[in-house]
């Protein structure tokens, strides 16, 4: 039997097909988010089915998660991102105790019990400052792609200090920094620090090892190092962190 997890995030939609008998991921795919969310998700889903040759009759469940989960009409059920990230992480790293997830428009810190169930969570979905949105704004301002952003930060000599706690004001601040001749690399490094500071504040002082980092932002080079520094704990990037939520969703149909 096969299950499908669909993570309808703010920036992109991720789909994972999971073999429930072997717990092997059969396929995963990602597409940019758009207006016709459900159609985009369905296209991707059907594409993966075709690619793997899985027959629809073998499907045991389609589970949607992410902020757009309720808009995925062809899903059988929905589960929150919090539960899904916990499931996804514990599948690959059963010993995990803390999850930091930074997505396109929110971020969360989840603490787990010994059995992998959710013990505690804090979530920021009101302010863009601790989220991927901040990085997008900066990338656009500097005229680089999101992927190139982290690479750029590697060349930083002295990270710029971003004092604004709001992305809109920070953007103004960045314009000022650029005008005064600050190097783009230093600005990016400063922004990475600003993002992890916000996330660190949300996580509070109750971070327990091992800490796993999930969400698309975990892929940005340099981000994990910043997070380590702010949290004062070793942090591992989860395997394929952008798919953790979708994987977790698929897993919930194994044992709900």
């Amino acid at each position: 039997m096969i299950s499908a997890g669909i993570d309808a995030g703010s920036r992109s939609i991720k789909v994972v097909l999971l073999d429930l008998d072997t717990h092997q991921v059969l396929a995963c795919g990602q597409t940019n988010q758009g207006v016709h969310q459900e159609a985009l998700a369905q296209d991707l889903f059907l594409h993966l089915l075709e690619q793997t040759g899985v027959d629809q009759s073998n499907l045991r469940g389609i589970i949607a998660t992410g902020y757009g989960r309720n808009l995925i009409g062809f899903a059988d059920t929905t589960v929150t991102e919090i539960t899904c990230h916990a499931r996804g992480v514990c599948h690959t790293v059963p010993s995990a105790r803390t999850i930091v997830e930074i997505g396109g428009q929110d971020s969360k810190c989840i603490r787990l019990n010994g059995d992998g169930t959710v013990r505690d969570f804090a979530m920021n979905d009101r302010c863009a400052a601790g989220t991927g949105r901040f990085l997008e704004v900066v990338a656009a301002r500097l005229g680089v792609t999101l992927d190139a952003l982290g690479a750029l930060a590697k060349h930083a000599k002295s990270p710029a200090h971003i004092s604004s706690t709001c992305v809109v004001f920070a953007e103004t601040e960045i314009i000022g920094l650029l005008a005064s001749g600050a190097a783009p690399a230093d600005i990016v490094a400063g922004v990475l620090i600003a993002v992890s500071t916000r996330v660190g504040a949300m996580a509070g002082r109750h971070v327990e090892d091992p800490v796993l980092f999930t969400g698309g932002v975990a892929l940005i080079p340099g981000m994990v190092d910043c997070l380590k520094e702010t949290l004062g704990h070793p942090v591992c990037v989860a395997p394929e962190p952008q798919f953790t939520g979708a994987l977790g969703a698929a897993l919930t149909s194994a044992s709900p």
Partner: protein, 404 residues
């Protein structure tokens, strides 16, 4: 019984505002003073014994808040702003009818708002001592109530007899008893009511005869209800925190719309003020009143251990599977106290905890929904695994700015 009363208690309380208005207007026309109140510390019995009608003026509408913000800071509890907004707009008919507004020195926001309100309305503010376990505090509160009684006698030219006080006490004890017994129905595995339906069995006018009749009818009907709605799958929730006054019930509705059943409401619009009665046999009724009202475990009291004890008892009695605490934005006392509540729930009671901080605008509902759903997923996972109480909790990171 009039036609209106005949369609049952649910319908009766659905028309609560118009029932109260009709009652207050009739009383007003007869020359009985209407007295506005804004807190559960107010001893309604003294007002009733003066022949006056105590009416709750607490605002539950987001619509009056912009008007309030012409005078008040934006960063203030929505309950205070909404209440005050009505005075700016002059559209709370009860307030406009009131000969006096009675209030207490509770939280700072309210106290300072009362100063502004008193510029336009006759007000009497009772000084509430805030150390609940000190005898001197109780003695002072008792003196305050005696002065309040004298003030009413003088102002309205009526003597307040012990006999009248005792009658009012019996009346209010009856109201408290009926509401308490209705609430106790929620202890059942499949309660005959939702938390919202129970919350609606409440009135702005205290001790109204026709309300009591309807509460009695509701109790009889619900007790004999044989076909109970299947509610076993719902997550049993204890809600605590700030009051949810009429019109501001949206968080409770959200909880119940997403798989929860609020079996116990430990706040000023729920169980907190109705659990203790006033001693009817006391030969000093004012003292008996002082004792009852002084025991109210509101977060303005310090230390407020009685509230924690109450939450512990209610969680057990009502078999709560999780605790959700609601704090209105900028309510400092409940916000600070939530740390103790969370610790108690997680570490002692051993069930999941969710703290929600929000205001009267429903713009937050998507954000709160995801938290409530995640909480219930954790509860259901525990239910399925039959795991012993492993404390789960969640906090809503409403204002990340404040933490940095």
């Amino acid at each position: 019984m009039t036609h209106c009363d005949a369609d049952g208690p649910h319908e009766w309380f659905r028309r609560m505002i118009s029932n109260c208005l009709q009652y207050a207007r009739a009383a007003h026309a007869e020359g009985r003073p209407i007295i506005g109140i804004m807190c559960e510390f107010t001893p309604r019995e003294i007002i009733m014994a003066a022949g006056a009608v105590p009416v709750c003026l607490c605002g539950g509408s987001a619509a009056t808040i912009p008007a309030a913000e012409e005078h008040l800071p934006a960063n203030l509890c929505p309950l205070i702003k909404s209440t005050y907004g009505y005075s700016v707009l002059r559209n709370n008919p009860f307030l406009e009818m009131a000969s006096l507004v009675v209030a207490e020195t509770t939280c700072d926001g309210k106290k300072k708002m009362y100063e502004l309100l008193s510029e336009r309305y006759p007000m009497y503010v009772l000084e509430l001592p805030q150390k609940p376990h000190e005898d001197s505090g109780l003695a002072q509160w008792c003196e305050t109530l005696r002065r309040f009684k004298a003030e009413l006698e003088l102002r309205f030219g009526v003597p307040i007899t012990d006999e009248a006080l005792r009658a009012a006490i019996a009346n209010m004890n009856q109201e408290r008893r009926l509401r308490r017994e209705l609430a106790a129905l929620m202890k059942a595995d499949a309660p005959p009511l939702t938390g919202r339906q129970l919350l609606d069995f409440k009135s702005r006018v205290a001790g109204m005869e026709r309300d009591l009749v309807q509460l009695e009818l509701a109790l009889v009907a619900l007790r004999s209800q044989t076909e109970l709605p299947a509610r076993q799958n719902r997550v049993r929730v204890l809600m605590t925190g700030v009051p949810m006054v009429h019109g501001a019930e949206w968080v409770l509705d959200l909880v119940e719309d997403h798989g929860g059943l609020v079996v116990a409401l430990e706040n000023c619009t729920g169980l907190k003020p109705i659990l203790e009665d006033v001693d009817e046999s006391s030969d000093d009724p004012i003292h008996a009143l002082a004792v009852k009202y002084y025991h109210l475990p509101c977060s303005v009291m310090s230390p407020n251990d009685d509230r924690l004890n109450l939450i512990r008892e209610l969680a057990l009695e009502y078999r709560a599977e999780c605790v959700i605490e609601l704090v209105w934005q900028a309510c400092i006392t409940y916000d600070v106290e939530s740390y103790r509540v969370k610790r108690l729930v997680q570490e002692e009671i051993g069930v999941p905890y969710l703290g929600i901080e929000t205001d009267y605008s429903v713009s937050d509902s998507a954000r709160i929904t995801v938290r409530v759903e995640a909480l219930f997923e954790a509860v259901l996972q525990r239910r399925r695994s039959g795991s012993p109480a492993a404390p789960v909790s969640a906090v809503q990171e409403a204002r990340p700015d404040d933490k940095t």
